[in-house]
Symmetry: C2
Amino acid sequence: MTVLAKLESSRRSAPQSAFDRLHGLVADDLREVNRIILERMNSPVALIPQLAGHIIASGGKRLRPMLTLGAAKLCAYHGRRHVDLAACVEFIHTATLLHDDVVDDSDLRRGSATANSLWGNQPSVLVGDFLFSRSFQLMVADGSLKVLDILASAAARIAEGEVLQLVTSNDTETSESAYLEVVTSKTAALFAAACRIGAVVAERPSAEEDALETYGLNLGIAFQLVDDVLDYSAGQNKLGKTVGDDFREGKITLPVVLSYRRGNEEERRFWRRTLEEGIRRDGDLAHAMRLMGNHGALVDTVERARHYGAVARDALGLFPDGVYKTLLREIVDFCIERLH
Amino acid sequence: MTVLAKLESSRRSAPQSAFDRLHGLVADDLREVNRIILERMNSPVALIPQLAGHIIASGGKRLRPMLTLGAAKLCAYHGRRHVDLAACVEFIHTATLLHDDVVDDSDLRRGSATANSLWGNQPSVLVGDFLFSRSFQLMVADGSLKVLDILASAAARIAEGEVLQLVTSNDTETSESAYLEVVTSKTAALFAAACRIGAVVAERPSAEEDALETYGLNLGIAFQLVDDVLDYSAGQNKLGKTVGDDFREGKITLPVVLSYRRGNEEERRFWRRTLEEGIRRDGDLAHAMRLMGNHGALVDTVERARHYGAVARDALGLFPDGVYKTLLREIVDFCIERLH
């Protein structure tokens, strides 16, 4: 705990979040990840680095590659492979974001114009394919069939989850378990893979690989559920997410599933009109948020997230105590409490 | 030549094309490729096999996997890996077709409704991603990093070529060499990879890998150039391509490049109006075909294709004579002469 104590004493004003502390600990590796990303997204076709650079710059806080780096460090890994593989994870994530924005016809992502709104759907689809292929080239250069298997399977599962979401989208009768299946595939599978490969590069026993996979999977589910809540929570928030996107896209998320099931017939008509039939008027979003409040749908979605968070934290139990174990556990709380 | 002689004597009516004869020789393997494709495109998300099944059924004559099978046999390979890898090649090709049709906003492919016209762009993008991931899972199961490298690089190059085509599309000033760069990336790179892995599974020396790559690359260029000509040639043809698609999509292909450069100012205005500005009227396609005829643009595009075809045939020179060498050479002529 001495490293943590030092970190704590070096802070200037507000206490640093677990995210910031982990970010600080892996800062050198993360800079290297960014360098590899910039280097590998290059192409003589200028539009590719332009568009890829835009999405990578606006793609968030590099949580997934940080998990790969943190997981490798938790496993006392001292090589360099985790850096390349963290870049692979971010490439897959970025390719997915590009295709997601096309599929959702989104104009904004975290407050910035999406690539498809700036350049059109066509290059977004193709540059997504390019980044996806590049990520596999990077994995091939790393040379581990085990890692390739983990990330190729995660990629297939993400696509499966996205199709499942499309099929069930606008269906207000979606069950909680069906929705969890979507979340597990489209979001949690990559978190799980990102963490698992940390143990793989460190050549740890399969029990530790499994533990890190369980950690990542449950953290990913908790992360997505909180994301769903943020979409109906007033105001901007720490990770820059805006309010009402899911509602405007007619997405069925857990707060909707709970509100629909707990609502009366009039309320269900409201959900069907706004999300199934896509007929939305001024004030509908505010009304949706009121209904969620009345039924405790947001509070209970956070409770569900806390459950998965607890499973994630416990999954790390078998690792020896240390700063990375502490921070990876605290990251779980950070992901859930970023609401406030 | 006895096998060929036997094949020849067993034909019933019209002489079989080289394509049919190669198809007959690898029929058992090709059935196995189809079985693997059906098995591996499966998913609990029903829309995935539905949509994938549609595109795979309408995706053509399996020329690319046949090349992998034929190349492996040319290298006297006796194992089973070529079958799995031929399925990988077809999966990559299929994923590319799905995304192409979204990018081109196509309604028809080889006379059948495209997946995007039947199910919308969204699942086409996502099922493309799924098939792409599946192909990497299959490669991982095969276990060769060398094959993974070849196919991941080909996939990246295809995406690069598609973006390049997008950037240069509607630009009537596109040069012949810029267009060849597009063709080499978007079409020929996968032909080259499909052939090269035939030598890789047979563990042949790198000179034979290179020879098969050169064969595939040049065959792929010839194939695409003839495809471009078919798009402006009256009537349906052997491989089911329809006429005028490229013109309606404003695509700049070699017949256009040649006609534009050989045309007078009035003709160039016509090409700019129809392909750059996208203002097309009744009779424009017929006029475009007339201009191409006047300038010998179609005949000369076929001449260019014959040049690449000759390079492809010569690339096989170092292999010992035999039925596969003969057929792979004759396939080149078949691809060029499918015009008639």
